[in-house]
Symmetry: C2
Subunit: 286 residues, 2 copies
């Protein structure tokens, strides 16, 4: 089959202040993740598989607040959220407040593939994992030294949106949430429409102050702008502006429209992103 | 202070087939709930307090699938979801997959009032309840005989949207979820933008096939139609139509716009609703 569309992918490594010297390493991490997804797209794989693969790379990189390296809640424990969504089918899967899962994005994908539900939270999600034979790890295995020492609030989340040669869109988002959060806190990342959304018109992943992102249903808002025909670069800027106007909060956003055009924006000081498109240089910025 | 707006309220008792002889009793239950909220509105109380009060009445009525009388999951246990949102402030609170809470909507309100987070799930939500001294009950206390005998899938959820004399809007939704759901399953009800949404332009509560409602972010979609100036009756109809077109699923919706105008629609056989407006007769339909 001839490819009918030029694939595209963009990943982000979380929006917020980056006060240590990890900026270059974070950009490298985003590049590695984007390349992992890009390889799948180039081989004719689906946007869904590409987005999941990119997020797995970010989850496994201890620099990012997702999977290994997730931030700690008030009890000093890791609880993670993740969601994946496919634009053409509107299929979606999400897990919230799960612990002892090395790659929450993989479990979210399994919830989606299972098809009975869209979202599983807490112990129920872990029971589902056990029943489908999904591997669990020691919750402590995901804690890295840096997180034990952290006292700053960070808005780390990782995400990827991808567009495949069949013109399908997908979004994937994964996070350890916010530092010192209450146990059971669910942020925007696993909420379809808030931190993650994909339909026939666009795929979107957000990061930032989750409670504010939820209030404006930011990912769905951005997808609507794309559906209204607004250019992706402008749509990303407008979505961040709306969030700021309505809530006074900060966030970042990445998105791709149904033509494979990429957009990203932030009103934070940093958001490492890496974008890849056919015939275009690798774009990696903070 | 002179009231500047005429209040309005509408409640629903869940969309789906009602095959027993409980139709009249369900309508009576909706009327009692709407009247509880109406009294608050008439005394100058807030839309938020009115919506919460109406949903408490529905949660306490064992006929409805929320609070007492909630449906059972695959383990034969009750797990409930609830959310509340205030339109002018965009403040919101939600709890998901909680058990042993007589009125989940009250706990959702406490999450909102606490203000640190928007959503708490599972054991974390119960830990929060304990820490704020919120009463818990025996999980079994919410199980009624009917639910032990039920083998049909129902789409019971209860909801209320209200408009107060200060022109503020609020939405509240509460549910036991779907029969035989997996433990930890979170439906649309507690998800801001999916089953529950309120902003400056409208307040919306949905009920029906939760996984489909999530995929189209139905409540936010309907609020956008109101923001675009579409009449509430038409906006409700269009939101249900969009859901049906994109997912082939069934649902019901209630909403009020910023002028206090009410709308509701369903593509199910039944959805008991009761609406109250100044100078208008009580409207109660199935």
């Amino acid at each position: 089959m001839q490819p009918r569309f030029s694939p595209a992918i963009i990943v982000h490594g979380g929006a917020g202040p980056i006060k240590d010297d990890s900026l270059a390493a974070r950009l490298d991490g985003c590049k590695a993740a984007a390349l992992a997804g890009w390889q799948i797209l180039q081989e004719g794989g689906s946007a869904l598989d590409a987005a999941e693969a990119a997020v797995i790379v970010l989850e496994d990189n201890p620099l990012f607040n997702a999977g290994t390296g997730s931030t700690l809640n008030t009890l000093g424990k890791v609880e993670m959220d993740a969601a994946v969504m496919e634009g053409n089918s509107l299929r979606a899967g999400a897990v919230a407040a799960v612990s002892g899962i090395k790659n929450p994005i993989k479990l979210a994908r399994r919830v989606m593939d299972d098809g009975r539900h869209v979202m599983l939270a807490g112990d129920g999600a872990l029971l589902f994992a056990r029943e489908i034979g999904f591997p669990q790890c020691a919750p402590e295995a995901l804690i890295v030294e840096r997180e034990k020492r952290r006292w700053e609030s960070v808005h780390g989340t990782v995400g990827c949106v991808a567009f495949d040669i069949n013109g399908k869109l997908a979004a994937a988002t994964s996070t350890g949430g916010i530092f010192n959060k209450l146990p059971g806190r669910v942020g925007d990342s696993p909420l379809i429409g808030c931190g993650t959304y994909a339909n026939a018109f666009g795929a979107v992943s957000c990061t930032g102050q989750g409670e504010a992102i939820m209030r404006v249903v930011m990912a769905r808002d951005a997808a609507q702008l794309l559906q209204d025909g607004i250019d992706p670069v402008e749509a990303a800027r407008m979505a961040v502006e709306t969030l700021q106007e309505l809530t006074g909060s900060t966030a970042g956003i990445i998105l791709i429209d149904r033509h494979g055009r990429i957009g990203h924006a932030r009103n934070t000081t940093h958001m490492p992103v890496c974008a890849l498109q056919m015939g275009a240089p690798v774009v990696a910025v903070c």
